[in-house]
Amino acid sequence: MAEKIVEELRPFFDPKAVAIIGATDKKGKVGNVIFENFRMNKERGIFKGNIYPVNPKLDEIEGYKVYHSVKELPDDTDLAVIAIPAKFVPATMKDIAEKGIKAVVIITGGFGELGEEGKKMEREIYEIAKAHGIRVIGPNCVGVYVPDTGVDTVFLPEEKMDRPKSGPIAFVSQSGAFAAAMLDWAAMAGIGIGKMVSYGNKIDVDDADLMEYFIHDDEIKVATFYIEGVKDGRKFMEAAKKITKVKPVIALKSGRTEYGAKAASSHTGSLAGADTIYDAVFKQTGIIRAEDFEHMFDLAKAFAALGHKLPKGDRIGIITDGGGAGVMASDAVAKFGLKMAELSEDTIKFLKENFPPHAVAGNPTDVVGDTDAERYRIAIEAFTKDPNVDAIVVIVLFQVPLLEEEKIIEILADYQKKTDKPIVAVAMGGRKTDRYARMLEEKGVPVYPTPERGVRAMEGLVRYAEYLRKVKEE
């Protein structure tokens, strides 16, 4: 079963040859952007497969031979991307089935989302797919983006939308617009995306299939899902329970309205809105629920960097060079139901011996505004050794005058590697701070722009660790 799903979905992420049905030389058309994406990635040496444009009216695009029909395609074609009007798609599916292509991305919109006629076509497509063992992503989607293999069916041209670098985060989105905006944003924020799938109307490949796949995908350390609705709840839960034992899953569920209330005749029914049910599903399956877009990526970033060393408990140690920021972080610890670590006597003693008298040895430990990198090192050293501390939040206000920026970055990166306790950093500030934050992230320390977001990301790690412990007990 496991190998089956990997084998079935592989062509979507790493095809030997892709057919772009509806490829055209008309700039800005969907079929042109997708063709250009593959062509550019081939030129850059990222996409290693063959590219076969399909269009009955053209013979050649940019030096590539154009095939007039699916039937003419070379036999190594294992992925078809469809970008032709909806009414032609069912017939094309028949050709694809005959040709023996087993993976199809249908970009085209104008199906189920438009009404009964569209739904009928979707059913027809699905019947063909099912009968011939074809897996389908879409229709009405932006499809797949894999920076490592150069698969890019996102029909937003590069000059309008940046592509993120490769990284350990998988991102799955029902909504194509959301997926595109997210990729653009991730590129700006320096967040690496290993695989993006936008499945639109998901007549076939769904969240559960992708979860099953990601279980076996070593490139992916954390999977994030933007979900509007689930069709097969049982299948979803089964797959979710499996994957969360292996790697973290973060979900952002939209549509927090209550639909159950109308039909309910019982007390319980009237309280069981869609949202409360999803809450239950996420809790039971170990999926971490993100409150919003920002939260989702704050969590993803933390897991991508620290998923391999989760906190052993919920006792947080805070180090700061600004008193106010320390208070904000402590408030956040309480707000998210975590505990402030009670430092051991050894730690307090060690800090007092090594600190100037005006620095504060406690939790938070305040290295104060005249700190240098060494004072931070002392504090971090003490916290990593203290058995009462499970996880460390280090707030660095890079603006203080004596702090050697590169040195503190080295120290944080060094301890992140050395200790088995997760460390997240908080850096509040502007342009210069942003630059240092990037440098820190490059070295494996996730950085957050506010204490609250840093602590909340840590909360995700704590909760997931708790879930794993409980699952293992059973």
Binding site: G233, M237, A264, S265, H267, T268, L271, I277
Partner: protein, 254 residues
Amino acid sequence: MAKEEALKVIEDVLKSGRTALVEYEAKQVLKAYGLPVPDEKLAKTLDEALKYAEEIGYPVAMKLMSPQILHKSDAKVVMLNIKSPEELKQKWEEIHENARKYRPDAEILGVLIAPMLRPGREIIIGVTEDPQFGHAIMFGLGGIFVEVLKDVTFRIIPITERDTRKMITEIRGYPILAGARGEEPADIDAIVDMLLKVSQLVDELRDYIKEMDLNPVFVYEKGKGAVIVDARIIAKIPEEKKEEIGVEYKERCA
């Protein structure tokens, strides 16, 4: 065993043309699965009522069972703390009169004669069916906590013991169960046991159950258990039984 017993009650109700089980029937279903229901009896006649009250021991409670009267308090067909046979006779008349006033066409299945229960901390356990995920179980504190604060939590059935423990501690009102202000802690294990049994019941009878409310349930101090005071079940006819049960169902409803 439990399943067959419960199923018989539900199928009889469905065959009689109803989907809403009256309290007595719902409790028969719960009892089959070992859930804690009071030792109560359905009296069809006044003589039976007097006999059962004697057996149970005064004071007793009387609740009139009618498929047409699901909100019993509104119809004033619940009489509490009846101390003697004389009082029971008088209330027997009154309860029937109230029912007739409330719904002249009310079909009366009998009067439940029940022991007066010692009040405990009130909780609610519910079940509803979600179109995507199937049956979900709800837990919360009863009364104002559920009515006003909606302090409840859900899980998809079937649930594990870990789920139940998490449910109990994650509601905001948990301190009330844990023992706030010097109160003794409530019997958490009894709640865990009930949640697991409801989950099993619904899991096994999923094709027959649409919704369920156990409300209120009195939970006593640690080690003293709990008791389901009132219960409601809305049943449904499973696809494969539609023909068999459906015919009779339609006839009765017409």
